[in-house]
């Protein structure tokens, strides 16, 4: 595509102009080429505040065409206010279709979850990232952080896991668990629960991480090795709801969340839950 083509399409009324899309796609391609490496990009102003999914939104707008089908979830829920508004924003800007069914979506934007099923080689998962730097908790100096990533010097991360285990008897980090991608870079897995971590390993779908406030994009390409950082003798464990079942669909094999101040459990993924009820 030449510059003049881009200028012709510039006045299209879309949220992102073609120049911005091109820059974001280039950053995204670099991110796919170096799995787990955080690529800087020129984060644009979006009609949502930074910290409300502007990074994910920019990636979604840049990779979505009018023949795509878009699904947006918030905490696994297609019907949350945030999810509905972002979905409308994306479809009205790109002309794409919308869906709540994971297997129909070609692009799925999410903050807290990976859909329980339905993602395959034709799917792109876009995750909204609040803090892209996994080492932020152990080091604040940006140059030192860059050096640690460049030399794969993650000993301070291991020390923080050691300290967590010593202080609490278990490793307490529940969401955004640090993972080693492609045996090279440690990434922050954004606030997805531990439940979803094993599902990133060797996944058939492409996962793109966008941090709008911090202006970073990183990626886990399909069929990439993703290993949660854990000691050899301290096995990585996912959340256990102790035999609880969803009070709507009665299933126990999905990620369950409890209603506040009650013992009632529900599937976090509302689309998956609805399909279980439909097939019963």
């Amino acid at each position: 595509m030449t510059l003049s083509d881009l200028i012709d399409r510039h006045e299209s009324g879309e949220l992102l102009d073609e120049f911005a899309k091109r820059e974001i796609r280039r950053a995204t391609l670099a991110a796919v080429a170096i799995p787990g490496y955080q690529v800087p990009f020129g984060s644009r102003e979006m009609p949502v505040a930074r910290g409300w999914g502007s990074g994910g939104l920019q990636i979604t707008l840049a990779v979505t065409h009018d023949d795509d089908t878009v699904k947006v979830i918030d905490q696994g829920d297609d019907d949350g206010v945030n999810a509905v508004n972002l979905r409308r924003l994306v479809t009205s800007s790109t002309g794409a279709d919308e869906t709540t069914t994971a297997s129909e979506a070609t692009v799925t934007q999410s903050r807290h979850r990976i859909p329980e099923d339905g993602l395959d080689e034709s799917s792109i998962l876009v995750l909204q990232v609040p803090v892209p730097e996994p080492l932020r908790g152990v080091e604040r100096d940006m140059r030192e952080l860059a050096r640690m990533h460049a030399e794969a010097d993650y000993s301070r991360m291991w020390v923080s896991l050691y300290e967590d285990k010593v202080r609490n008897g278990v490793i307490t980090q529940t969401t955004g668990y640090p993972c080693l991608v492609n045996e090279r870079y440690v990434v922050a897995t954004t606030p997805i629960p531990r439940w979803d971590i094993p599902r990133l390993h060797d996944a058939p779908f492409l996962t793109l991480f966008g941090a709008g406030r911090e202006k970073r994009i990183y990626a886990i390409p399909p069929y990439t090795i993703v290993e949660p950082l854990t000691f050899e003798d301290v096995p990585f464990e996912v959340e256990d709801s102790d035999g609880a079942r969803c009070s709507l669909c009665g299933k126990s094999e999905s990620f369950l969340v409890s209603l506040p101040n009650s013992t009632t459990w529900l599937c976090s993924d509302t689309d998956w839950c609805a399909r279980q009820r439909g097939s019963r």
């Binding site: 010097d153 291991w158 000691f231």
Partner: protein, 294 residues
Amino acid sequence: MNDTFTERRYDIARLAIPEWLLKVERLGKVYGPYDDEIIASTGSERDTAKSSINGSVVAAWDVSFEVAPGEALGIVGESGSGKTTVLRCLAGDFTPSTGSATIRLGSDDVNIFDVEPAQRRRLRVDTVSVVYQDPSEGLKMNVTAGGNIAEPLTAAGWRNFSKIRARASDLLARTEVPLNRMDDLVRAFSGGMRQRVQIAKALANSPSVVLFDEPTTGLDASVAAGVLDLIRSLLEEHRIAAVVVSHDFSVIEMLTSRCLVMHHGRIVESALTDQLLEDPHHPYTQRLVAAARA
């Protein structure tokens, strides 16, 4: 000053070395531009480290020595004499202006001034350790004693929690840190105990070279004596090549068999430690020893 006699004694000191493990040759560190004339305008005889020609500071120049396994070499001198500069160049904290420092790794000789920064840091993990005067430089204050030792271990590839715990408690026991303090933050420790934790951390990966920068200067006399005893027994036990920098002759006397005297960035005298203390030759050394004995 009797130059020939100093030279001869230097040779005796060299004869005492069986086989070097660390060899420093013509190490120099200059702040600012320099040439032969500027270097010549500084030093012990000129009584300044700062050149009157262009204001460059010659912090260390033409520093050469060798250290054998199981041996401790002392570097003594007053504040500003360049001894800490030499140590920090060896530690990798400062980049030297000239010279080489060779470490014998198995059958390979590696000039540590020559290697890539990443490899340099790697050497700091498992080959060259440093014990700083201020424990907060060598330790993370908001991390437990065990966690501080876990850092070099995980950097060297340890991934087993129980083995890391066992190694850390073993090291802390040997440096006489009570094991019931292992899971307390270093911030909560006394100065002497912090220094013991720092020594335990420095020994984590069984380094072949340990650099001590004024290891007991911040401690009161009784605590310092305990730490010195500890360092001496560890050096003997592990066959470590050690460089001990101090302005305090009692530290040098207790830990080292040979020592160098530095003044305005230059080595002015080099001898066996007991000889040097009994019979100092260079006027500056005489002044230092007299001051220490007073």
